[in-house]
C-alpha cells in the first residue's frame, strides 16, 4: 500500500514537469532569432524611422572543432517602420524565426538621426520593451546605421555578439570610448544637469587624414593598413538634453573618462612630451586611476563659483627615449612636473571647451555640487547648468610615479 503511494507521488512529480514548459509564454529556443545590433536611421517618410536589425546565427561557432553548419554567422535587414517595437512583427515577413531583443548588445544611431529632435522619443521606447536591457550600449555612427552593419565585416570575430562585446569592453578599458549604456543615457536625461557621451564609431575609413598623436583621432581617422576590418570605435558624440550636439575625439574622451568616477577604466597608455628632449620627443606612460577624485567647490552662490578638482593618479614610465638617468632627484622632479603640467593643461582645455562649445559638463560633475545644498529647491535655484558655464575650474593632478622603468645607459658609439 505504501509503495503504491510512493509511485503515485512520483508520477505526480512527472506530471509537474509538464508545467515547467509554461503555457502562454512558451518559448522554443529553436524558433527564436536574436537581434544583436539595432540600427536607427532617419527615414525618407515623415515621422517614420529606418530600422536595421543585425541577427546572429546561434548555430555558427557553437560546435566544437568544426563540423558546424556552413550558414553565414549573421543576417541584416533594413526597413521603414514607425518604431522598433512593432518592427519585431514586421520583420517576420522577411525573417523565418521570431524576432527577440533579449540579447541586444548595441544600438547604433546614425549621426544624422541622433541630431534630430525626435531622437529622445524614439530611444525612450527601449524603456517600454522589457526585452531590452538597460545595459545595452548606445553608439553613434558616422554613416547611416544600415550601411554601418553591412560594411562592418570583422575578420576574426565573426560572431557579432562577441565582436561587439569585446570591441566595446576593451574600448572602455582604454578610455577611448565612453561607457555609454542606455541606463546612463536615461539617467543623464532625467537629471538634466550634464551631458551624455555616446561612443562614436564608423565602418568607413576617411580618405585623407592628417597624422596626429596616438589618441587625437575620431573613429575612421586612424590610418591603419593591412588585412583588416575598417570599423573603428573612437571618440564620442555629445548629447545635450538627449540630442546630439557635438563630438569629442579620443583624447578628450579619455580625459572625461579619467575625470568620471562612475566609469571603470583600466590602465591608460599615453604619450607625454619628453622634458629632456628638445626635438619634440615623447615618452610612453601608463596612467592608472585607483582612487576617486576630490572635488571642492567654493562660493557656489556667488557670481563666479570656484571648483577645485584633485585627480589622484599613479603613473608608470614605460619608455625613456632621451636616456636620462632617473637616479638623480632633480631629473625625477622635472619629469613629475612635466607629467603634472601636461595633464593639467589637457584637463583645463577640456573644461574650457565644455564651457564654451559644449555648454555643459560631459560627466556628472553636478553630483559633487549637491552636498553643498540642503534641499532640492535650493539646488534647483542654484541652476547648475548656468553656474557651470560661469565657474572657474582648477584641476590639480596629484601624481605619484610608482615606476621609472629599467634604467638604460646610452650605448657606447663605435669609434666615439
Amino acid at each position: 500500500m505504501q509503495k503504491t503511494g510512493i509511485v503515485c507521488k512520483g508520477l505526480l512529480f512527472l506530471v509537474m514537469v509538464c508545467l515547467l514548459t509554461g503555457c502562454s509564454d512558451r518559448e522554443e529556443l529553436e524558433d527564436r532569432s536574436y537581434v544583436i545590433g539595432l540600427g536607427i536611421d532617419k527615414s525618407e517618410h515623415k515621422g517614420k524611422i529606418k530600422v536595421t536589425m543585425l541577427l546572429a546565427n546561434p548555430e555558427v561557432g557553437s560546435m566544437q572543432g568544426g563540423g558546424g553548419s556552413t550558414e553565414k554567422p549573421r543576417e541584416i535587414i533594413t526597413f521603414n517602420v514607425n518604431d522598433f517595437i512593432a518592427a519585431k512583427g514586421t520583420a517576420n515577413s522577411i525573417i523565418s524565426r521570431k524576432i527577440n531583443y533579449d540579447f541586444l548588445k548595441i544600438i547604433i544611431v546614425s549621426e544624422k538621426y541622433a541630431m534630430d529632435k525626435n531622437f529622445p522619443t524614439t530611444i525612450s521606447d527601449t524603456q517600454k520593451d522589457k526585452e531590452i536591457r538597460m545595459n545595452t550600449y548606445l553608439a553613434v555612427s558616422k554613416e547611416n546605421a544600415s550601411d554601418y552593419f553591412v560594411e562592418n565585416k570583422p575578420k576574426m570575430e565573426t560572431r557579432p555578439h562577441k565582436y561587439f562585446q569585446y570591441m566595446v569592453d576593451h574600448g572602455i578599458e582604454n578610455g577611448m570610448i565612453p561607457d555609454s549604456t542606455l541606463f546612463r543615457y536615461f539617467k543623464t536625461l532625467e537629471r538634466g544637469t550634464d551631458l551624455y557621451l555616446a561612443m562614436y564609431t564608423t565602418a568607413i575609413k576617411s580618405k585623407k587624414t592628417k597624422y596626429k598623436s596616438e589618441d587625437e583621432y575620431m573613429a575612421g581617422q586612424e590610418d591603419a593598413t593591412g588585412e583588416l576590418d575598417d570599423t573603428q570605435f573612437m571618440g564620442s558624440a555629445v548629447f545635450k538634453n538627449g540630442v546630439m550636439t557635438n563630438k569629442l575625439n579620443g583624447q578628450e574622451t579619455r580625459i572625461v573618462n579619467i575625470l568620471d568616477d562612475t566609469t571603470d577604466i583600466k590602465d591608460i597608455l599615453i604619450d607625454i612630451p619628453d622634458p629632456f628632449s628638445n626635438k619634440g620627443g615623447q615618452f610612453a606612460a601608463r596612467i592608472m586611476k585607483r582612487e576617486n577624485n576630490k572635488v571642492k567647490m567654493k562660493s557656489l552662490k556667488g557670481t563666479k563659483p570656484q571648483m577645485i578638482i584633485t585627480i589622484p593618479l599613479k603613473v608608470e614610465i614605460m619608455t625613456n627615449p632621451s636616456m636620462v638617468s632617473y637616479t638623480s632627484e632633480k631629473n625625477r622632479q622635472i619629469l613629475k612636473k612635466q607629467v603634472i603640467s601636461f595633464l593639467k593643461v589637457m584637463n583645463e582645455n577640456l573644461f574650457k571647451k565644455s564651457q564654451t562649445k559644449l555648454k555643459g559638463v560631459p560627466y556628472p560633475l553636478s553630483l559633487y555640487a549637491r552636498p553643498y545644498f540642503l534641499t532640492i529647491k535650493e539646488f534647483e535655484k542654484f541652476n547648475w547648468g548656468k553656474s557651470f558655464i560661469r565657474a572657474d575650474i582648477i584641476v590639480k593632478p596629484e601624481i605619484e610615479i610608482i615606476d621609472y622603468g629599467k634604467q638604460s645607459k646610452k650605448p657606447v658609439k663605435v669609434g666615439g
Binding site: 509554461g22 503555457c23 502562454s24 509564454d25 533579449d102 524603456q127 522589457k130 536591457r133 538597460m134 545595459n135 562585446q165 569592453d169 541606463f183 536615461f186 539617467k187 532625467e190 537629471r191 538634466g192 568616477d261 562612475t262 571603470d264 556628472p364 553630483l367 559633487y368 549637491r370 552636498p371 545644498f373 540642503l374 534641499t375 532640492i376 529647491k377 535650493e378 539646488f379
Partner: protein, 368 residues
C-alpha cells in the same frame, strides 16, 4: 501533535515578519516614496518607524495585559461587543483591500517582466492557488518554510544590492534633506503603511510560544526591517538617481541590470525565483491572517476551510482594475489610509484601557 509543537518559536515568527515587511522594498513602494520625497526617501522608513514606535509600544503594552490573547479578543474586551466588532470589521476590510491590491501588484510584476503575453488572471490565479495551499497547511508550516527560505531571501537580496553598487554613486543621496523638512514629515505618514503588518501580527499571538517571545520577536523584526528598508532605498537612489521616479519596479529593473561578469550576463532568474518564494510566503501568511480574522469576527472555528473562498474573492477584487497604473493609484490611496487608521486604533485601545483602569487591575492581579 501536542499543543506545544504547533506554536511558533521566535525564529519562525521573526522570519515571517522579515519576509512580509522586507518584501515591500521589492515592489513599487520605493517608487511611490521617491515620487513624494525624491532622494531623501531613504529616511522615510526610519522616520516612519519613529512615528510607529509609540503606538506599537502602547499596543503591545495593552495586549500584554491579556496573556496569550489576540488583538481581536482584546479589542472586543476593551471596546465592548458592538464597537469592538465594528473596529474588527474595519481592520478586516482594510487588510482585505491591501492583500487584494498587493497581490495584484505582484501579478503585474511577474507579467511585465517574465510572462508578457500570459493573461493576468492566469498568473494571478496560480499565485493565489499556491498561497491558498500554503495557508491551509497552517501557521506552523508557514513559519517553518519561512525560516527555511529567509536566509536565501536576505542573502540574495544583499548580493543583488552589492552587485548594483558597481554602477552607482553615493552622491545621489544629496541634497541631504530632499524636499525639505516639512515634506519629509508629511511623507513619513505615508511611510507608516510599511509597518502596518506589525499591527496585523498581533492577531497571531495565540500561535506564538508566549507573549514574551512575541514582544521580543516584534522588536527584533521591527528594528531589522527598518534598517533593511532604509538600506535598500538608499541603494536604489544611489543607482537610479532621478530615474527612480519613472521606474515602476526598481528591484526587478535592478536585477535585470546587474551581471556576474561577461560570462554570466543575465542572472535575474536566480534572484527572481528566490523573490517569488518570499512572495509566496508573504501572501500565504497574509491570507492566513485574514482568514483568521474572518473566522474570529463571524465565530467560525475551522477557519482554514474559509481560506480558498476568501482567496477567490481577493482574486476577483484584485482583478477589477484594468491596468497597472490604476492599481498603483488605488494602492497610494490605501496606503494613505492604512497607517493612520491602525495608529488611531492602537492609541484608542490604550486610552480606553487606561481609562477603564485595566492597567491597575493587572497590577493588582500581579501583586496578589
Amino acid at each position: 501533535m501536542d499543543q506545544q509543537s504547533r506554536k511558533l518559536g521566535i525564529r519562525e515568527y521573526v522570519s515571517i515578519a522579515i519576509l512580509m515587511v522586507g518584501a515591500k522594498a521589492t515592489e513599487d513602494s520605493p517608487t511611490i516614496l521617491y515620487k513624494q520625497v525624491q532622494n531623501a526617501s531613504w529616511m522615510i522608513p526610519i522616520l516612519s518607524a519613529g512615528l510607529f514606535f509609540i503606538p506599537l509600544l502602547l499596543l503591545l503594552k495593552t495586549l500584554s495585559l491579556y496573556e496569550d490573547k489576540d488583538l481581536f479578543f482584546v479589542i472586543r474586551k476593551i471596546l465592548g461587543k458592538y464597537i469592538g466588532i465594528l473596529v474588527c470589521l474595519i481592520i478586516f476590510f482594510i487588510s482585505s483591500a491591501a492583500i487584494s491590491f498587493d497581490s495584484r501588484i505582484y501579478t503585474n510584476i511577474i507579467r511585465t517582466f517574465y510572462f508578457p503575453t500570459s493573461p493576468v488572471l492566469l498568473i494571478y490565479a496560480m499565485l493565489m492557488a499556491i498561497c491558498t495551499y500554503g495557508a491551509k497547511k497552517g501557521l506552523q508550516n508557514i513559519g517553518s518554510v519561512s525560516y527555511l527560505i529567509v536566509y536565501y531571501a536576505v542573502l540574495s537580496l544583499y548580493i543583488a544590492l552589492l552587485l548594483s553598487t558597481q554602477s552607482s554613486t553615493i552622491r545621489a543621496m544629496f541634497p541631504i534633506l530632499g524636499p525639505g523638512t516639512i515634506g519629509l514629515m508629511k511623507s513619513s505618514f505615508l511611510g507608516l503603511t510599511l509597518f502596518a503588518d506589525f499591527f496585523l501580527f498581533t492577531t497571531i499571538i495565540p500561535y506564538v510560544m508566549s507573549g514574551k517571545v512575541f514582544r521580543r520577536g516584534t522588536w527584533i523584526a521591527f528594528v531589522y526591517t527598518t534598517i533593511q528598508l532604509s538600506v535598500i532605498l538608499l541603494v536604489y537612489i544611489c543607482m537610479f538617481d532621478t530615474t527612480l521616479g519613472t521606474i515602476g519596479y526598481p528591484f526587478h529593473t535592478l536585477i535585470r541590470f546587474i551581471s556576474l561578469g561577461s560570462y554570466l550576463p543575465n542572472v535575474e532568474i536566480i534572484f527572481f525565483v528566490i523573490w517569488l518564494l518570499s512572495a509566496f510566503i508573504r501572501f500565504t501568511a497574509f491570507l492566513y491572517i485574514n482568514g483568521m480574522m474572518f473566522g474570529f469576527i463571524f465565530k467560525i472555528k475551522d477557519f482554514e476551510y474559509l481560506i480558498p473562498s476568501l482567496a477567490t474573492i481577493y482574486v476577483m477584487i484584485g482583478s477589477i482594475p484594468e491596468s497597472a497604473i490604476a492599481v498603483s493609484q488605488i494602492k497610494v490611496m490605501i496606503s494613505g489610509a492604512v497607517g493612520p487608521v491602525f495608529i488611531f486604533i492602537a492609541l484608542i485601545l490604550w486610552l480606553v484601557a487606561l481609562l477603564k483602569g485595566e492597567f491597575k487591575h493587572a497590577k493588582n492581579r500581579n501583586s496578589m
